[in-house]
Amino acid sequence: MSKVKKDENQVEYTGRYLVLMPENTDTGVSALGTLNSISGLNLKSSTEFENEVFTTKDLDSCDGILLENIGVAIVNKNPNFEVGIGTMTEDHNMIVEKERVVYAIDKLNPEAKNYMHGYRDAVNVLSEMLLGDAETDTIMAEDEGINAAAVGATWGLKATKVVPSSLLFSNPYSGVNVKVAILDTGFDFNHPDFVGRPIVQRSFIPGEATQDLHGHGTHCTGTACGPINPPGNFERYGIAHKANIYIGKVLSNAGSGTDGQILAGINWAQGQGCKVISMSLGGRVTGAGFSAIYENTALNLLNRGTLIVAAAGNDSNRPGQINPVSHPANCPSIMAVGAVDAQMNVARFSNGGLFLAYGAVDIVGPGVGVFSSVSTPHSPNMGPVGIQRGNANGTSMAAPHVAGIAALWIEASSLTGRALWSKLLSTAKPLPQHPTRDVGAGLVQAPNKRRLPVRWPAPF
């Protein structure tokens, strides 16, 4: 067994080396022969061991072992090998690194965990490059859990991959040039997190300015379009941080409005060219069917490239009572958004898709303990007097997650309307532990890009 050594950064090495074969090397006998010929060593192939499982004792019994499937050799410390490293890297395009000592993730501190995730991911990418599977297009990030690498963001932004959990992925999208309408109780135009942000506004509530005196609209706007770096020591809560914001006040400062006011808001948003309309509002359904007016409107808008997203409603009291998706989210052409919590449980209050022909929950978003901006002054329901940011619960909080992510997908893919609808559903993270009735296609996910691999220089 090689002796463990630490370098000046306290990184521990085994004394062995890892050799990554170049991309065009055939695996199998030729790779082993090539490596043995170049290094002057007598390496064994992993295929010589039953099920390709070997021990350190096996390793110590020879000069090293070539892992055939990934084209990586583990080489024991050997003066002859070390002399030939220059030739191997410069003339034969091999990558040679010292083998590190790796500990179980749970025993590491968070910073070290992040490093180890990055190291693992980098090895994965190198392996995939050799196997020809590496991707650089816009893709969905792998599921790495929500707390792996992402820091300084709400749980909802991590769970939806707005802030990727893996260091291997990035989210370069900001919703730039995408027009997003928030139809709600208005917005706090004096909020410190939105200083300098151009906002188009209009009130459809007679006698009330667009300024939000309730807080609900400001919270929803913050989630969909809030800043990437809120001033002060606050975590990121906004998704489409460069989107063009359109505030339509269709609900009063008491938190209610009429169908006419809401449709007037939709009409305005469509006229402004908004591609996403977020409506964290609804009314309990009392009879069968859905509104033909909202459905026709949403269908027309969808065909013209505008997606309407609406809260599925909060009338349920799970597990005993599940009420149907509210009006107007129950229209087939309006994307109905249910709510889940950080443990991926369906929120107690979130309505369900109880009918086959209409009123489905299409997708879910974070809707419990959602941190975002709050107006000043605001309703007592939005938190203590004076706070400018706080937590809220509701399918109202889930809907703007979908709206903001829809804006990111528009930027990433140029898809709008019906195609955007399909993209959001097809990229959602399935939640098979719950019935489709409650979660639809699953948890909405943001577009991510896989970082281009960076070849680490040989550490000598």
């Binding site: 709600d184 109780t185 309730h214 609900h216 609900l251 938190g255 209610s256 409005g257 009429t258 169908d259 006419g260 809401i262 449709l263 007037a264 939709i266 009409n267 305005w268 469509q270 006229g271 964290s280 509002l281 609804g282 009314g283 509104s291 033909a292 007016i293 026709n296 409107t297 027309n300 808008l301 809260a311 599925a312 409603g313 909060n314 509210s326 009006h327 107007p328 509701g394 399918t395 109202s396 809907a399």
Partner: protein
Amino acid sequence: MKSKWLILTTPEDFSNVSAMVSKRKIEILNHLENIFVIEINTTKKKAENLKNVQGVLSVEEEGYLSIQ
């Protein structure tokens, strides 16, 4: 007793329906021209009679909605 109603029209009949509603001396509150909806203030009987007008797709009484 009057209340607020919403009329959905076909795109091509939006203007004709608006004219027809005015002709029947029904109060028009709003024209939503981008989505082909007309908001009116009238009785249930007069509103329901509009369902038979050429180009009218749906007539619905307004309800109240609230934050979720």
